[in-house]
């Protein structure tokens, strides 16, 4: 059974049919790529998967449950986490706080115990602190823990966003152009990181990216979206050689 199953997903913005009858199936622990020309509707698909936009038609089933139309924060609780195309960190909070934010919705302590600080709450807080530090260590960011997120260099911010999303304990991680603004060297590191995340956390990852080297290297399956419509789906080699994909997206050199 597939983890995520998207059927006939459609959304309209006024007159613009941004995504139309889109289908997608992602299995457990799969590395999946979503590519397509600018404005094809990829980010819009993410926004529908995470509840930011409500689809005008179709269904989204995750882990055997319909999740279309529910609130973004409830979707996180169903174990889908994401990063954003334009990084959206909590800029004035520290790196550590940013990561701890990922755990926060899972916290057990109530408001009252937070105010009077019960021993249980203190313990829970200490545990979260520890876990977050562990995660940061994995990302080689433990030294930056007390830095404000907005003061990090761009590449580090991207990685922090991924770390934060992982803290939210996802089964499916959505990455929107994680390599944007990175140089080839950094992109290569990112490639490794993504694979490693999948293996370590045993989760599926859906990736939007324009860096074909990264996509083709990492993804086991790829779906191509063009003008809101599904153009092709398949293994990387199939996509690379698909003439329609070449014409609409890859270009001669890109292929």
């Amino acid at each position: 059974m597939s983890l995520l199953s998207v059927k006939n997903l459609t959304i309209r913005f006024g007159g613009l049919l941004a995504v139309n009858d889109f289908n997608l199936e992602i299995g457990e622990q799969e590395l999946y790529g979503l590519i397509g020309p600018n404005g094809a509707g990829k980010t819009t698909v993410f926004n529908m998967l995470t509840g930011v936009y409500t689809p005008t038609g179709g269904s989204i089933t995750f882990d055997g449950e319909r999740i279309d139309g529910i609130k973004p924060y409830n979707i996180t609780a169903k174990h889908i986490a994401r990063t954003f195309q334009n990084i959206r960190l909590f800029g004035n909070l520290t790196v550590l706080q940013n990561v701890m934010m990922g755990y926060d919705y899972q916290a057990k302590s109530g408001l009252f115990s937070s105010i009077i600080r019960t021993p249980k709450q203190i313990k829970e807080e200490e545990k979260m602190h520890e876990d977050a530090m562990k995660l940061l260590t994995i990302f080689h960011m433990e030294d930056l823990a007390e830095e404000k997120a907005k003061n990090l260099p761009y590449g580090q911010q991207r990685r922090l966003e991924i770390a934060r999303a992982l803290a939210a304990n996802p089964k499916l991680l959505l990455l929107d152009e994680p390599a944007a603004g990175m140089n080839p060297q950094e992109t290569a590191e990112l490639t490794e990181l993504i694979r490693w995340i999948r293996d370590e956390f045993k989760i599926s990852i859906l990736l939007i990216e324009h860096d074909m080297k990264l996509v083709m290297n990492v993804c086991e399956k790829i779906t191509v979206l063009s003008f809101g419509q599904l153009l092709a789906a398949g293994k990387p080699e199939e996509i690379r050689n698909n003439p329609r994909v070449i014409e609409a997206y890859l270009g001669k050199r890109g292929a």
């Binding site: 020309p37 600018n38 060297q185 890109g254």
Partner: protein, 233 residues
Amino acid sequence: MLRVENIDVYYGMIHAIRGLSLEVNEGEIVTLIGANGAGKTSTLRAISGLNPIKNGEIFYENAKVDSLDAHKLVGKGVSQVPEGRRIFGDQTVEENLLLGAYLRKDKTEAKKTMEEVFKRFPRILERRKQMAGTLSGGEQQMLAIGRALMAKPKLLLLDEPSMGLAPIIVEEIFDIIKEIREQGTTILLVEQNANLALQLADRGYVLETGSIVLSGNANDLLNNEAVQKAYLG
């Protein structure tokens, strides 16, 4: 045409640019490559007068320009496509383009330029009346370039124009950059995608933590081992 001599840029306590010098000759494409946070954007912003410089001087067409306000330099023929596009999201595509020609007096000529821009980016023509803020990332980048071209600049500063674009568009944009140069515009191109940038450029500078560490003929840099290792993957 453009000469940057020994400049320093600070953000509060952070010393972002350290004694950087570079030169762009008329008609050239010069590229500035470097990792994240190396200071590429800071350099461009210093040139266009958005960031004040601490030391050093900047000359444009043999005139000292480092104390000019940003908007004055535009009048002298220097346009910039800023990092992250920075289009005016609450105005239509067309209005964005008109703003690009803000300082131009000849309205009919400006109209012509707009036609040219539309010819180059048909996608933008389709969305002429759409709010720029609702464009996709790639569409916005095209608009940002189109907007800069509206000023008919003599020197065009491009900050990572390929960021977030589909491969086919990147190709297109690099073709456009070439064309723009052929029509007589000098270009300073900042890129992470060193491979493409160096293929296109005449000369290149490599920037690391605020200083130039390497410079020279684009071809030589392409074949330089250190460069290949660090920037070409």
